[in-house]
């Protein structure tokens, strides 16, 4: 019961924050609404008993990515112009509504194999076993490390003064 209440609260606030990101004309306020949306998503992970991911969501998204985006807004701010919608506004709205309709239709017409098993708690040890253990995802972890290194070097090269 408490979980249901938490879900509805988090869902409503996250959708409202996402709408604020899209509808506010001031990009800086949109970024602050995005931070709220990230925090609500972390709460949703807690209701799904994904404790490690909730912590990572707070650290990576709320702590790092939002700071990076706000820094970008500060460095390129067009204060007087904000972020007005372009002339594709109504086709884009149509595409989004079509997507919602299709997705909801698919969700309610697919027989999901719901399992009644209890979730793993806490998840950190199991996740570490999956990532680094035998028959795990260790190769993907190393590829992700190389990807992050390449992204850092690429970002430095792109913004370096000539």
């Amino acid at each position: 019961m408490a979980m249901d209440f938490a879900f509805w609260l988090l869902a409503i606030v996250s959708v409202a924050a996402a709408l604020a990101v899209v509808l506010l004309r001031d990009v800086f306020r949109a970024a602050l609404a995005l931070v709220l949306c990230f925090i609500m998503v972390a709460g949703l992970y807690v209701t799904l008993s994904a404790d490690f991911l909730a912590a990572v969501q707070i650290l990576v998204y709320v702590g790092a990515i939002s700071i990076l985006l706000i820094l970008g807004i500060m460095l390129t701010r067009d204060v007087q112009r904000g972020s007005p919608p372009n002339k594709l506004r109504f086709p884009a709205l149509l595409v989004a509504l079509l997507f919602i309709g299709t997705a909801i239709f698919a969700v309610f017409n697919t027989p999901w194999g719901i399992s009644a098993g209890a979730p793993v708690e806490p998840t950190t040890a199991t996740l570490a076993g999956k990532l680094f253990g035998e028959n795990g995802y260790i190769l993907t972890v190393e590829i992700a490390a190389v990807l992050l290194l390449a992204a850092i070097i690429g970002a430095i090269v792109l913004v370096r003064e000539k």
Binding site: W8, V21, I65, A92, F99, I100, S115, P119, A144
Partner: protein
């Protein structure tokens, strides 16, 4: 009706559609990046919900979410660097004015 898989999937679809609308209709490149982050988060919610309700002992969906977060961090860093370079050269972040590849 208690909250189940469908609730999370519908919430994920709604968040994804909001991000999609914003990414297609904004005239500020940074706002487009914000909307792409919303879409990535919506996908993550769907993956964690599948992991919780379909295979609660496996956690494979959560492993995928960790990799999506790594790729999203790389994407944000490189995307912002590209926006910085364009802003320095052209003095604008409006994607309707960054059209030199169309001419």
């Amino acid at each position: 009706m208690s909250v189940g898989l469908e609730h999370y999937l519908v919430l994920s679809a709604i968040l994804f559609a909001i991000g999609l609308y914003g990414a297609l209709s904004k005239r500020n490149t940074i706002a487009i990046l914000l909307c792409i982050e919303i879409m990535l988060n919506a996908v993550n919610i769907a993956l964690v919900a599948f992991s919780r309700f379909v295979a609660p002992q496996m956690l494979t969906g959560q492993v995928f979410v960790i990799f999506i977060m790594a790729v999203a961090a790389a994407e944000a860093a490189v995307g912002l660097a590209i926006i910085m370079a364009i802003y320095r050269r052209k003095g604008t972040v409006d994607p309707t004015e960054i059209d030199s590849m169309k001419r």
